[in-house]
Amino acid sequence: MAAEAGSAINPIEQFSVVPIVPIHIGNLDLSLTNSSLYMLIAVGIVSALMLIGANGSTGAPGRLQALAEMAYEFMAGMLRSAAGDHAEEFFPFVFCIFMFVLILNLIGIIPYTFSVTSHIVITAALALLVFFTVVIVGIARHGAHFFKNFVPPGVPVYILPLVVALEVVSFMTRPVSHSVRLFANMLAGHITLNVFGGFTIMLLGAATVIFRPLAVLPLVMNVGLEALEVLVAFLQAYVFAMLTCMYLNDALHPGGH
């Protein structure tokens, strides 16, 4: 959203990672950037909310307390329904993924902020974290049985190699679809918002005065898009967490057991 000030509106500029505290170790740029800052802010918000909830009373909950408990119960329900039994120890992991992504998505909608989840490296890192957690937990818990995931039951032997090959490919490409879904949704939403914001500014500055009132049209559009983006922010965080739960289900109950 940083582009509004410039005369030439660049809808990509809002995704720029800008160092705040430069840190260079060897050839690596490990600077504290706006991206880092928003991640830390998200961690602060989630921690504050959940710690308020954790120190709340067992009586009637207040608003923040109710919100924290709602998030807890929501994720606990999702984990129970999507990952089945014995998934309790992954609750903090799934909960962190959901809340982290959700808060980052929501913060990103606020104009002039930075949307961390619109960077593929972040979503890919989270997706790979889930992927390797699934592989490691699956093999550690079930050994060779984990590979039952690639052999669907009731498939005739003569097409089994093909099916197994497809299953392996689909399993391997999970991190890609998992990360690109979130990244692309956030990126596209923010670009759209920025483009319509840019239209508003262009029309306001139009040389022909008659066109200037038309600036309200893209503005109205943007109001609607903001609401849609809130929905997308929730939905994508939900989908990301839900897929995490379903992948964990594969690790915990290979072959659907």
């Binding site: 720029s16 950037t33 961690v43 959940m50 903090p92 962190c96 982290f100």
Partner: protein, 182 residues
């Protein structure tokens, strides 16, 4: 917002030949993003897994237990209240029966007393009646004897006036008695 550093970045990337126009694919920023992701997500995980979630789970469990206990308490209290209400009903019924019995008893007693009093009164009245009857009879008897005397005297006077002499009282008495009886 911070146009200057973005510009320098772009220059650096142009030198490196990266995706200078599309920040999400700018590999130059990846190490920093990954490091800070690891730091922040790790911190979040630690806080959630070690502190916040177990405690919050405890709070929710405690509330559930409390609600269940409250419901149980309410049910037992309801039971107690029902029992108390039943006992109360019973007491009232007993008291009412007792009161009815007492009232009956009082009524019976009163009736008996009244009956006794009436009997006494009736006896008294009957006695008085009898005495009055006797008196009437006596009075009448006396009156009747007086009538004989008067008749005798009257007969004597009439006799004297008509015959001019003193009648024999014995004869007159006989004659009066004969008339009376005849």
């Amino acid at each position: 917002m911070a146009q200057q550093p973005a510009a320098t970045h772009t220059e650096v990337q142009q030198e490196a030949g990266g995706h200078e126009n599309f920040p999400p694919f700018n590999a130059h920023t990846f190490p920093s993003q990954l490091l800070w992701l690891a730091i922040s997500f790790g911190a979040l995980y630690l806080v959630m897994a070690r502190v916040a979630l177990p405690k919050l789970g405890g709070v929710i469990e405690a509330r559930k237990a409390r609600i269940a206990k409250d419901l149980d308490d309410a049910a037992s209290m309801q039971q107690k209240a029902d029992a108390a209400a039943a006992a109360h009903e019973k007491t009232i019924a007993e008291a009412r029966a007792k009161a009815l019995a007492l009232a009956q008893e009082a009524r019976d007693k009163l009736a008996a007393e009244t009956a006794a009093k009436r009997k006494i009164l009736e006896d008294e009245l009957a006695a008085k009646l009898a005495a009055a009857d006797q008196q009437i009879a006596a009075t009448r008897a006396q009156a009747m004897s007086n009538v004989e005397t008067i008749a005798r005297e009257a007969a004597g006077a009439i006799f004297e006036r008509i015959l001019g002499r003193t009648p024999d009282s014995q004869a007159i008495a006989q004659a009066v008695a004969a008339t009376k009886n005849g």
